[in-house]
Amino acid sequence: MQIKPILAAMRHHKAGALLVGFQIALTLAIICNALFIIQARIARVERPSGVDESRVFVIENNWADKSSYQTIGAQIGADLIALRQLGSVEDASSTNSFPLHGAGWDNYVKMRPDQIHMTTDSSVYLSDDHTLNALGVTLIAGRNFTANEVQAAQLEEGKSWPVIIISKDLAKLLFPGGDAVGKTIYVTNTNTPSTVIGVTDTLQSHMMDGDSGSFAYNAILVPVRQLSSYVYYVVRARPGQLAAAMRDAPKALFAQSRMRIIDPKDGVMSFAQVRAKAYERDYGMAILMGIVSAVLLAITAAGIVGLTSFWVGQRRRQIGIRRALGATRTDILSYFLTENMMIGVCGVVVGTLLAIGINLWMVTRFAMAHLSITYVLTAAIILLLLGQGAVLAPALRASRVPPVEATRPV
């Protein structure tokens, strides 16, 4: 295919070619970044929580009578026994928060008592000897709590935590050398050390903010039963019995005592619902970027079809002359395809620069990650193919212009 005549012809419709090229460049720049955002969100959403999600659900229980913390402690004990006795329930535990919950406690973690700045930050889950089983999390080292290690405490009490279990990722961060079991760290401000007695497999933090990314898998389990105005029950159903357990559990609790408030709407949530709520923003952003990308591609394709149709209409006579002089239909077809490809490649080159520029700006403005070149390449290929596809129909129409057109006046 000869490039020269195409360039010569393009000189006669510079503005149109420039506009198409510019449109392709802008589309590419936006789509790369949109794809990148989509991918980042999907990666975030797909992170494992460590929880046996298909079988676990959570009950938010508020106490109607908060006058005595002693009775609350006894009531939690009775509730847990009632829950564990249900045929559909494998195990149950009380806690202040759980992975993906958003709200909860996080404590600074220090290696020495006199350290001013923290080593890292971690979720604190108030647990008992049933928590690991109720979440469906396995220990990879050390041992679980025993029933008599569990102490009852009020929210604001500054008790020390002599024994704790930490998540795998926190263990790796604090003790890169290896075995964390038996070591001590400082997680309360009382300056008393806590001994790590066990390490769990992957366990996600409750923190969902973007800026807690580096703490996302830091979790500490402490053997404390929380005495406060609310409690969460984490319940693990027997295989295949999630729905039954979710129905039975609130009934069993109300049979225990009516002086409690379990929201009929979202007081009982399966872990799938917890996950959906936790990642609501990410799903939303991914869908929104998807819609924008689809609309952009559609509009760019339609624009190329429109302009090329116009060019074909404008050049019917020239096409006729070329055909009369011996050009085949394929020649005419490939003329328009090549023309589009040339504009497309220029647009893609400019668009790549633009995409990288936008990304660099977003990195500084919104603390986003750097765009990887795969996205630019993917988007570039999509756009070039889209251009070829869009130009095909008008180009085919051009190739069907009969040679006799040469003799007709415009």
């Binding site: 923003r281 609309v295 509009i299 429109g306």
Partner: protein, 441 residues
């Protein structure tokens, strides 16, 4: 003349319906996407109390010292909430026109009628000046008095929703409600009031929240009966005593604090009072560091607390990008459309039409495309705003509205943007040489 151009434009647009439709669709989608995201952006970056936001200030005191600093994202600001000791001290000094310390409560309300279940309500324990300061709208009654604050009176202001639920919407002032097993006298019922962002307690709500504010009780009453804080508690040291009492004596932060200062000189005086207070604490040995306080007015405070979600900003930018692409697309199509009519332009010019007439004719045509695109965009924006709750979290999506200003803005953006896109094609059309066009035929 304008009528003639409109007529010409309609004829021309009818001649190539496919191209016209394409342009209208492009403008419509572009405008709708940017207006939908703009409506969300407008909702979250809006001023919740525009008539006095510049008079409302949030004081911040450095009560943690170096312990509270370091770590990621530390910008040297003092903590964004208040501990009990300092909040009470500032309340006692009472240096602003209005001021209130406040903390979040979530007590249970036991309905008087037998057989009804207790319900959990959300609210705040506040001082009496909270109501005039925030301009909380009353349906019945009013807030309580300063004396009732001092007496730790068992009084309450309830929301319209709770009033509907407990009293069927009747004037319930003077009636009794049961909060955490204790009786409170209702002194006021608010009108439906749901300021977003929740400007008086950003540190607990993060700005936007779907939680209701059902109940307000006197601050000191809440402290007296030990009504627990249901908001965040942040500590750098563990309280030496246990329970709610221990929390009050600790340096843990769990309260919001807001003051009203009517002018700049009052704000300046208040800031120097804060610094004086911190110096006093330093002399007394409670703080071992120099004063480091902030006094931000509400807009500055919302900005400092990053109330506008980043996602919203990114979506708006992406949508504006989409609009730009749509306009470049329209510019290309208009160019094709206008230049196809070189003959017609040649004839008009040869018959004496000045360049200005050509400009007017084609810009009218562009404006008509823009207007049609705007109408379509309006329709799509309406659909977009209704379905935005599908992709965005409820607390934010529910704030987006299609009101008259947005309606007008949508049409305006569509017309202005399309006319701008039509400027270059029109310029090219007006430069058509009449002689050359006539000759080539």
């Amino acid at each position: 003349m304008l009528g003639y151009y409109v007529d010409l434009a309609i004829r021309s647009l009818k001649r190539s319906p496919g191209l016209t439709l394409l342009m209208i669709l492009a403008v419509g989608f572009g405008v709708a996407a940017s207006m939908t995201t703009y409506s969300v952006f407008r909702a979250v970056s809006g001023d919740p109390i525009p008539w006095k936001s510049s008079q409302l200030y949030v004081p911040q005191i450095e009560m943690w010292g170096p312990k509270g600093h370091g770590g990621d994202g530390d910008n040297g600001d003092p903590p964004d909430a208040m501990d009990y000791t300092d909040a009470i001290a500032l309340m006692r000094d009472h240096r602003a026109k209005y001021q209130s310390a406040m903390y979040m409560i979530s007590p249970s309300l036991v309905p008087a009628q037998a057989g009804k279940h207790p319900i959990n309500v959300g609210g705040h324990a506040v001082y009496n000046e909270f109501f005039p300061m925030t301009d909380a709208p009353f349906q019945y009654g009013s807030g309580w008095s300063a004396a009732e604050d001092e007496q730790r009176a068992a009084v309450a202001v309830i929301s319209d929703k709770i009033n509907q639920k407990l009293f069927g919407g009747a004037n319930s002032v003077g009636k009794t409600i049961n909060v955490d097993s204790k009786d409170y006298r209702v002194v006021g019922v608010l009108k439906p009031w749901n300021p977003q962002p929740r400007f008086y307690d950003v540190s607990n709500t993060g700005g936007f929240t779907t939680n209701d504010e059902d109940l307000f009780i006197p601050f000191l009453r809440g402290i007296d009966v030990g009504m627990a804080n249901s908001g965040n508690t942040n500590c750098v040291e563990t309280p030496t005593q246990s329970g709610f009492k221990g929390l009050q004596e600790s340096s843990c932060i769990w309260m919001s604090y807001m003051v009203q200062l009517d002018d700049a000189s009052a704000a300046k005086a208040y800031k120097s009072y804060l610094d004086g207070y911190a110096q006093e604490q330093q002399h007394a040995g409670r703080f071992s560091w120099a004063p480091n306080n902030r006094l931000r007015n509400l807009p500055q405070w919302l900005d400092a607390e990053h109330v506008v979600p980043t996602d919203t900003e990114i979506s708006l930018l992406v949508a504006i990008g989409l609009l730009v692409v749509c306009l470049v697309n329209t510019a290309g199509l208009l160019l094709a459309k206008f230049l196809r009519r070189s003959n017609e332009i040649g004839v008009r010019r040869a018959l004496g039409a000045p360049r200005a007439a050509i400009y007017a004719q084609f810009l009218v045509e562009a404006a008509m495309v823009g207007f049609s695109g705007g109408v379509l965009g309006l329709l799509l924006t309406g659909i977009g705003i209704h379905s935005v709750s599908w992709v965005l979290p409820k607390d934010i999506a529910s704030l987006a509205r299609l009101d008259r200003p947005l309606l007008l803005l949508t049409l305006l953006v569509a017309v202005v943007a399309t006319v701008l896109a039509g400027v270059y094609p029109t310029f090219r059309a007006a430069r058509v040489q009449p002689a050359w066009q006539l000759k080539s035929n």
